[in-house]
């Protein structure tokens, strides 16, 4: 005679404990709503080739709109702008972070242009700097940002333009790219 196997109808005690633990985590998470962010779809593993290929190619296609009005301008993995941005969100944010030690005159998130005001370092009051940064597109690329630094020195009570070493511009661009890479890693982690 063959014994009939037990036919379960509800999660086992192990499953119940697991569910309770995660429910508690959900409640804890809800207590700190001010510091929460909901991950985007591109921060989860996928099992379809479309999303795999889009991620690998650095594209963030939302698909072809066939009905409705496009209001999202969703910021995706390495490409596309964030909400309200016409340029790559990581490069834009990284440029702002990098130049944040200088006062800003203007920042155009659609054109991708950031212009700072003149800034004198505390340790060198006889000279001052101004920077203009251009975020060049929606792709997170090493050539996606250009920084131009201007320098003036004070002589006889007047500010005179002097050349800036070309390496200064390159170093600023490297700092922006490093910061953009950090932001990208923080948002993905896949």
């Amino acid at each position: 005679m063959t014994s009939q196997p037990q036919i379960p109808s509800a999660p086992s005690p192990a499953g119940a404990r697991l569910l309770a633990a995660f429910t508690a985590l959900a409640l804890l998470a809800g207590c700190g709503a001010g510091q929460l962010r909901t991950p985007g779809d591109d921060e989860y593993n996928v099992s379809n080739r479309r999303d795999e290929a889009l991620r690998l190619s650095g594209s963030a296609s939302d698909g072809i709109l066939i009905f409705g009005t496009d209001r999202t301008r969703r910021g995706g993995a390495d490409a596309g702008g964030g909400p309200g941005l016409g340029v790559n969100a990581f490069l834009w944010r990284a440029t702002l972070d990098t130049l944040s030690f200088m006062p800003l005159v203007s920042a155009d998130p659609f054109g991708g242009v950031i212009i700072t005001d003149w800034y004198s370092p505390p340790q060198a009051s006889g000279e001052r700097f101004k920077a203009t940064a251009y975020v060049l597109g929606r792709q997170l690329r090493s050539d996606g940002v250009r920084v131009q630094v201007f320098r003036q020195v004070q002589q006889g009570g007047q500010w005179l333009d002097v050349p800036t070493a070309s390496s200064t511009n390159t170093e600023m661009e490297d700092r922006v790219l490093t910061r953009a890479r950090e932001l990208r890693v923080m948002s993905a982690g896949r």
Partner: protein
């Protein structure tokens, strides 16, 4: 317990609807998808003998072209309360037998609601929480591993499989917001299989609630993602727990007559990224067997299955290079006593590169090596069940995604 789960979901749903005012957005409908074309050259020790293809036995070719496509309908909108909602319906060419391999069916189909502060809930035929949130090393995209499709050996352990391997059985999935670098997810499926299945089922025919597949599947994952001095770090733990199909264990003649009542799998993973490089590894173990982790039961008394997978990738401008190495183990005992064979040990080595020709358009080339000591399936060609089998595949292809 089920009431608790449903109640929790209801609370979350109510909370989702109580957030602050936000501009309402009418739904948009988009079309996405991909088209893939590849050529694969395959060397398989099983091909040294003839294989049975109805109506005759003959050797298979060593190479073939392969095309594949999916079309996705993407719906998205926003309520006045700031809740994003929508649906995803995926159509695929899934090599349906008897269709000339050109018929189209559905792949994933699911609804979602998402709150900026309370997380996202998905309802429908989609991946489990343990799958979508498992931290895994860099690894091949699906189109890098054509040996899976071209060799079609069936039933073997594959270390590239994530927990549940993207199984789309109908479920509810909750994914939390990220807080201090941490987020987590949990999913629940009542019964195996997906889609609307059988309408008006009868006592003598098929019904939806048939206990054929795994039941009460609970999966969960928690992960941390952060940055330490420019090094991106991700670490996570994921697990699955399900009961094996009771109707497949109900009599000695059935395929799972000697199976455990439960199917479990546990996985831990760690990755580190720095200046275009990403390194990572995962270790997975549990009471599961077959091609996919966490979907089929082991025999009673069988040792736990396990695998580890290491991966590295490097991206420089339009090129990404990925390499993997992994090994896996599954006990030779089978739920059906007569099918007991040697313990299976699987080794996987692969390297692939992709070149982005334009956004969404990729060219790729990959090499994959698979070795099985103790072939776990039935006899194939010159390889008997329990024998050794080695496969090598070289693939060149292109994919357009939109």
């Amino acid at each position: 317990m089920r009431k608790l789960l449903l109640g929790t979901t209801a609370v979350v749903g109510a909370a989702l609807l109580s957030t602050g005012a936000s501009a309402q957005e009418a739904p948009t409908v988009r079309i996405g998808g991909y088209m893939d074309f590849s050529y694969t050259f395959l060397s398989d020790t099983a091909d040294r003998g003839t294989q049975t293809f109805s109506p005759t036995a003959r050797r298979p070719r060593t190479s073939d072209f392969r095309s594949d496509m999916e079309v996705h309908v993407l719906v998205s909108g926003k309520t006045a309360g700031g809740i994003t909602y929508g649906a995803r319906i995926e159509f695929q060419n899934d090599n349906i037998p008897g269709s000339g391999q050109t018929a189209v069916d559905t792949d994933e189909t699911w609804l979602f609601v998402s709150s900026p502060t309370l997380g996202t809930v998905r309802f429908g035929d989609t991946d489990a929480a343990a799958f979508v949130m498992q931290v895994r090393p860099p690894r091949y995209p699906a189109f890098y591993r054509p040996s899976w499709y071209v060799a079609r050996p069936g039933g073997f352990n594959y270390v590239n499989s994530g927990l549940t391997d993207g199984s789309d059985i109908t479920k509810i999935t909750y994914m939390s917001p990220q807080f201090a670098g941490f987020d987590f997810g949990v999913s629940y499926a009542v019964n195996g299989n997906e889609g609307p299945r059988n309408n008006n089922g009868t006592t003598t025919g098929l019904i939806d609630r048939d206990r054929q597949g795994r039941q009460n599947e609970i999966t969960a994952a928690i992960r941390y993602r952060g940055n330490f001095s420019g090094v991106g770090v991700a670490a996570g733990f994921a697990m699955t727990h399900a009961e094996s199909g009771a109707n497949q264990r109900a009599a000695a003649s059935l395929v799972n007559a000697g199976a455990r009542n439960t199917i479990t799998s546990y996985g831990a993973g760690l990755t580190a990224s720095f200046q275009g490089f990403t390194f990572g590894g995962e270790y997975v173990f549990g009471n599961y067997r077959g091609a996919s982790v966490g979907t089929a039961p082991t025999a009673r008394g069988a040792d736990m299955s396990w695998h580890y997978l290491l991966g590295a990738s490097y991206t420089f401008s339009p090129v990404t290079i990925t390499a993997n190495f992994g090994q896996g183990f599954q006990d030779g005992r089978r739920p059906t006593a007569a099918a007991t064979v040697r313990d299976m040990r699987h080794t996987h080595v692969g390297v692939g590169a992709s070149y982005t020709i334009a956004p969404g358009l990729l060219g790729y080339i990959s090499y994959e090596y698979q070795r099985f000591r103790g072939w776990p399936g039935s006899s194939v060609g010159s390889v008997a069940a329990g024998g050794n089998r080695t496969m090598q595949a070289l693939t060149v292809g292109t994919t357009l995604s939109f």
